[in-house]
């Protein structure tokens, strides 16, 4: 039995899409500042990048508040259970049209691999990007104003860490965009993140052979 279930709440969707736009925009302007591309013009790229960065920080503050007040943060607790099965699914099962090994429920939206990757993003990559970005922004040369107290003599370490993080995020986005298509149907994950509803297995029902109902799932 399938059932349309409201899985992504409106704030969650707002947060996700705003974050998506901001990260894409930050990447675009950021790589212009890095000298890899030319689009907005250098001074504009810096200006827009800084505005987007502040917007992102505001969004993060709201998101943290939301995660804690709703208890949604528990979704990201890492687990080793099913992790092997999940890896096997992406490497083998998906080609044989095998079912997802982790059943998605409202209480557990993320599979163990997603949990690990998103937790890594939230606790490692994003904080490092925000911190190195702020230091980059407020770095004012040795003996200038700003982060003088840190007595850091060059913007180089911040720049290098920030750039490395940006490359990792680009790789993440590529993989993320692809993995969206690995849901029940190619677009089911995307639809869920737009409308909030996803067709989930009714937990009380016995697992149904998917092959019968979904032939066209490549």
């Amino acid at each position: 039995m399938k059932k349309q279930i409201y899985i992504y709440k409106s704030f969650e969707r707002f947060w996700h899409w705003t974050q998506a736009i901001l990260i894409f925009f930050l990447g675009f302007t950021g790589f212009e500042i890095h000298g890899s591309i030319k689009f907005f013009g250098y001074q504009n790229a810096v200006k827009y990048h800084n505005i987007a960065a502040y917007s992102f920080i505001v969004l993060i503050v709201f998101a943290i508040f939301w995660h804690f007040t709703t208890g949604e943060w528990k979704q990201y607790l890492p687990t080793l259970k099913n992790i092997k099965a999940q890896i096997n699914f992406y490497l083998i099962g998906i080609f044989r049209n095998a079912p997802h090994p982790t059943k998605r429920t409202i209480l557990s939206k993320l599979n163990p691999l997603q949990r690990l990757v998103y937790l890594g993003l939230k606790l490692l990559v994003i904080p490092i990007m925000v911190l190195s970005g702020l230091l980059y922004m407020f770095y004012r040369y040795p003996q200038g104003s700003g982060v003088e107290a840190l007595n850091i003599e060059s913007v180089e370490p911040f720049a290098i860490i920030h750039t490395l993080g940006a490359f990792l995020l680009v790789a993440f986005i590529i993989a993320h965009l692809y993995l969206i298509t690995t849901g029940r149907t190619i677009t089911s994950n995307l639809k869920a993140m737009i409308t909030g509803f996803e067709e989930l297995d009714n937990l009380e029902q016995v697992q149904v052979q998917e092959e019968q109902t979904e032939v066209v799932n490549f």
Binding site: P142, S154, E156, V170, A171, I174, T181, V215, V216
Partner: protein
Amino acid sequence: MKKIFLILILIGLVIISAVTILTTKNYEPTNQMKLKEKYPKKYSPSVDHSQFTLLQKKFSSPQEVTEACISCHNQRHIEVMQSNHWNWEREEYIEGKGIVYIGKKNAINNYCIGVEGNEQSCAKCHVGYGMTSSMFSYTDAKNIDCLVCHDNTETYVKGNELAGLPDPSLDLNYISQHVGKPERSNCGVCHFFGGGGNNVKHGDLEKSMFEPTKDIDVHMAIEGVNLQCIDCHKTEKHNIAGKMYSLSSMNRNRAYCEDCHTENPHEADILNEHTVKVACQTCHIPIYAKVNATKMHWDWSTAGKLKNGEPYEEDDSEGNHTYLSIKGSFIYGKNLQPDYVWFNGTADHYLLGEEIKDTTKPLKINTLKGSYQDKDSKIIPVKIHTAIQPYDPIKKVLIQPKLFADKKGEGAFWQDFDWRRSAKVGMEEANIPFSGEVSFIKTEMYWPINHMVSTKNLTINCTECHTRENSRLASLTDFYMPARDYSTFVETVGYSIIILTLLGVFTHGTVRIFSSKKRKRLISEKANLYL
């Protein structure tokens, strides 16, 4: 009644809002607006010199004019006699060398090398009369040349090789009756022609600056605020602010753009932040030598060639000398992009008679000090003038040759074209030990570029520096600059991760498509079988 009341209220509101809108125009004038208002105001002198009877009497010598000046301005000569324009030397402190007395009198450069022994000719740009190789009284106030700076008729001119005396045909009465504050023409007559011709030395100071357009210099433009030299080079008691680091060593008495424009003149904070490490000139003087070419290279080693026993000259299509028998070969340049160096306001100098430590590298005649790490340093634009000039390979010192003389036979190179002889005579006059050998060495001189400030729209763009390729600051490698610099490691790792991810996604996707097609085929075959 009620209706009328409402209408009255409505009209009242309209009037009040109209008045408030019209009166909220009292905006704050910007610093630049204030400057533009302040500087074009015409200066009216407090006296008319043409009415003084003292200046009506016939002057038989320029010294008499000076005496007339001093008879009223009876303290000014003391100030002049303390100035560098008079003494041609300053007390300077150079780190590692201590207190030195350096100036035109004893310094060496890589143009005409030095004045020692050549005073008769060089004194054309000294604010005094009667400077010859053998003697000059620095204490005789009568020898002060007041007119060269204060003539407002633009007719005063010093004679060639007259030891600083004016052209004898001048009407000294007319000139002395029309004196005033120095104008661009007074300063320019020497400072635009340093090194033996227009724009030879500085690159940013030349005859087009007498009456420049806005394209040449936004400050001095005659159609703009029309600033005179002393508007920026503020002068108090004949002590003029601002100096050139060809001779100066210490960070003092400088003229700064910030004196008028403040340290935060831009609307955008990000530009103001640059002023911590970047001098105004760096962005606002994108090119120099905009009208006439400046000398970039001087090769003394080719000097002395004669045609039929006579010295000759060769010029390029624009009339710049490319070869002169008396001076050697030259390379000129026009519309040049400056070089950039760190500078903290202090400089080192090669002093006459100093031993050259490393003769394999070009000798820096003056070294502008500074680095990224130094908190007082900023990036400034410079002209780097290179030369090949005579030196003593045994004693390892630069040679001060005797260049100028009235007649042949005195050892002057410009008369006799004999390096050894002119070196010997020159070194003797300078009192420096000389081995008798003459060789040639490459030298460099650094000339900060401060003039020919461009209009706002021609200011350099971010990406002229912040770029991977051909950055204007490519030679300054002691700091990380966004867009120019990157870590090769991060770049390699980053692009590898992206390529691997793309490859992974592509492979995975392809296999998915094929396996799904295969499955579909199998299912339809199965279905056919049952049919």
